[in-house]
């Protein structure tokens, strides 16, 4: 009797595991397949690319489409544009967000609550509401089709300030007070105490800034009309409409565009997940 019960529990466990792993494996395949197909299609030789039934592997990988990518369109230029914009925005965003975050977390000044409420409030406004005047302002400043237009409006954002304020709030006041008593200046305290102590927060914010800039599509779409100022996602949209039938070329472009994010993700997954959980649970 007892033995039978044990057996039943064991069978139940096997069935449970079967369902659990079955679900996870099918889910995993659905999630990863588009990426796998993108990569494999970008290296398949022409004659294997459009066969029926489709083949999921290739024995003769080729870089033909990557070569095309750099000869048909100035892909190297687009990669540079994207990289330059994403890095510039990341650096300024880290610096300006932590500066402002420090002031909001550790200083008393007139208008502080008002400004901080304004910042939090602006996070609730959808971007569509301010994008038209932003476009007009950038146009009036003569920054259409330029790095200025791509970088300066994105230099700092409400979320970054909020995030850094939360991070810097956790630094003990005694450390800052002690530095004051030792006669340290405010810029010195910021550079030598605040910044080093907020490294984990800065790392998370850096990944997020880089990621959102690298993947940003709407803003470049609106302000970039000259071919040589396009960013990578924008060039993909153009490839998609101009070379829509060149499957291998499109997949090579898509692969190149996601490659930096894949690398960042594989190495810094921990920070990304932490950051997402932070924004998800504390907001």
């Amino acid at each position: 009797m007892k033995n039978k019960n044990k057996k039943r529990i064991k069978v139940k466990k096997v069935v449970n595991n079967f369902v659990l792993y079955g679900f996870l494996i099918i889910g995993f395949i659905i999630m990863v397949f588009p990426f796998y197909w993108m990569l494999i299609s970008s290296v398949k030789p022409r004659e294997e690319l459009l066969t029926y039934p489709p083949v999921l592997y290739t024995l003769k990988p080729t870089i033909e489409y990557y070569k095309q990518l750099f000869s048909l369109i100035p892909m190297q230029r687009y990669l540079f544009n994207s990289l330059f914009v994403a890095l510039s925005v990341t650096i300024t965003n880290l610096f300006l967000s932590s500066l402002a975050g420090y002031a909001f977390a550790k200083h008393k000044f007139y208008g502080k609550n008002f400004l901080f409420t304004l910042i939090l409030g602006s996070m609730m406004v959808p971007w569509q509401v301010n994008i038209i005047p932003s476009f007009i302002i950038v146009k009036k400043l003569g920054w259409l089709n330029s790095f200025y237009g791509l970088i300066i409006p994105a230099m700092v954002n409400a979320f970054g300030i909020f995030f850094m304020r939360q991070m810097i709030s956790t630094i003990p006041n005694e450390l800052i007070d002690a530095a004051h008593i030792d006669g340290c200046s405010e810029p010195y305290i910021f550079l030598r105490i605040i910044l080093p102590l907020s490294k984990p927060g800065l790392a998370t914010l850096a990944i997020f800034s880089f990621m959102s800039q690298w993947n940003n599509f709407v803003w470049p779409l609106i302000i970039i009309h000259k071919s040589d100022m396009r960013t990578v996602p924008l060039s993909l949209a153009v490839l998609n409409s101009q070379f829509g039938n060149n499957f291998g070329l499109l997949m090579a472009g898509a692969s190149i565009s996601i490659l930096p994010m894949l690398i960042v993700f594989v190495f810094l997954q921990k920070y990304i997940v932490k950051g997402i959980v932070f924004t998800g649970l504390k907001e």
């Binding site: 002031a103 008393k108 997402i276």
Partner: protein
């Protein structure tokens, strides 16, 4: 006396520290939010100075613009399907990932992949999955499964364009949602589950009476965030359902509010009209958020 002086020096530095950030936010966020409110009462093409027309834009949008209502309808369908299905699937995924499983980090990475990659790149690939000729991968899978009656050009057929985009969006959102849900699950104290185990509670009861109520704050957050994001869907529609001949799907079958706004603002340069659209979208999103807040308060009491 000396202390006071020092304090004012600190205050001076505080202003210097917030100044650059506030300058950028003022020019590119605060002023634009107010400016677009005023623009919404004007006709403006970006070249000649804006002409004040009162409520004309709003009246035209609400009463003389079938395309706007088409976009609203499509967006509502998109939101009403994507939000619950997306969160439901993510809940299953997070419950599966919460178990003690082998290769858990591999699975997590897989589900999370679309979250870090650009929607533009992913949309390009999905366009080919949905392609109508025999090279479309979805059609190939359906053929293999013997469902040949469903073979079609998914993104060219008005009845399937929006559903195709919805499926792709759910796929793209599962990673983010399930990471948040997973962290919610992990924050439930083990002692509660242990107590339930001693009381001999079944798996279903455990899920229904412990897990779900404990996840409520996280769920509410996700529902609000994913509703807001879904109302703003743009890239998928722009890349997957637009070409030189049509915009937002054949017969506008997948035209949602933001692509419509983009088209009015940056293809036709009806900047006043588009600003009114933006404020209407803002109001719609705001109302939805309020409703969620009210519902959750109601259940708390």
């Amino acid at each position: 006396m000396r202390k006071k002086k020092k304090f004012s020096k600190r205050t001076k530095w505080a202003y210097i520290f917030v100044a650059p950030a506030m300058l950028v936010l003022t020019i590119f966020v605060f002023v634009p939010v107010i400016a677009s409110f005023f623009l919404s009462f004007t006709e403006y093409d970006g070249i000649y100075s804006p002409k004040i027309v009162g409520l004309k834009n709003y009246i035209n949008i609400l009463f003389n613009d079938p395309l706007f209502w088409k976009a609203v309808k499509n967006t509502l369908v998109y939101v009403i399907v994507t939000v619950p299905l997306g969160i439901g699937v993510s809940l299953l995924v997070s419950l599966a990932l919460y178990q003690k499983i082998k290769f858990s980090s591999l699975f997590r990475t897989g589900f999370f992949l679309p979250t870090v990659t650009s929607i533009a790149a992913v949309s390009v690939v999905w366009r080919w999955i949905y392609a109508g000729d025999k090279y479309g991968f979805l059609n190939f899978v359906l053929t293999k499964l013997g469902i040949t009656s469903m073979l079609q050009d998914w993104l060219m057929q008005p009845s399937t364009t929006l559903p195709a985009i919805i499926v792709m969006s759910i796929w793209g959102g599962v990673g983010y949602n399930s990471i948040i849900l997973l962290s919610g699950l992990q924050s439930i104290p083990d002692s509660i589950f242990e107590a339930a185990k001693i009381d001999g509670v079944s798996v279903w009861e455990k899920f229904w009476y412990i897990t779900l109520p404990m996840l409520k704050p996280v769920m509410l957050f996700l529902v609000i965030m994913s509703t807001i994001n879904s109302f703003q869907v743009f890239e998928q529609v722009y890349i997957m359902a637009s070409s030189t001949e049509y915009f937002g799907g054949v017969l506008y079958s997948a035209l949602t509010i933001v692509p419509y706004l983009y088209e009015r603002a940056f293809k036709r340069f009806m900047l006043g009209y588009a600003s009114a659209l933006a404020y209407l979208l803002f109001i719609i999103i705001f109302i939805f958020t309020l409703i969620y807040m009210k519902i959750s308060k109601f259940y708390e009491e």
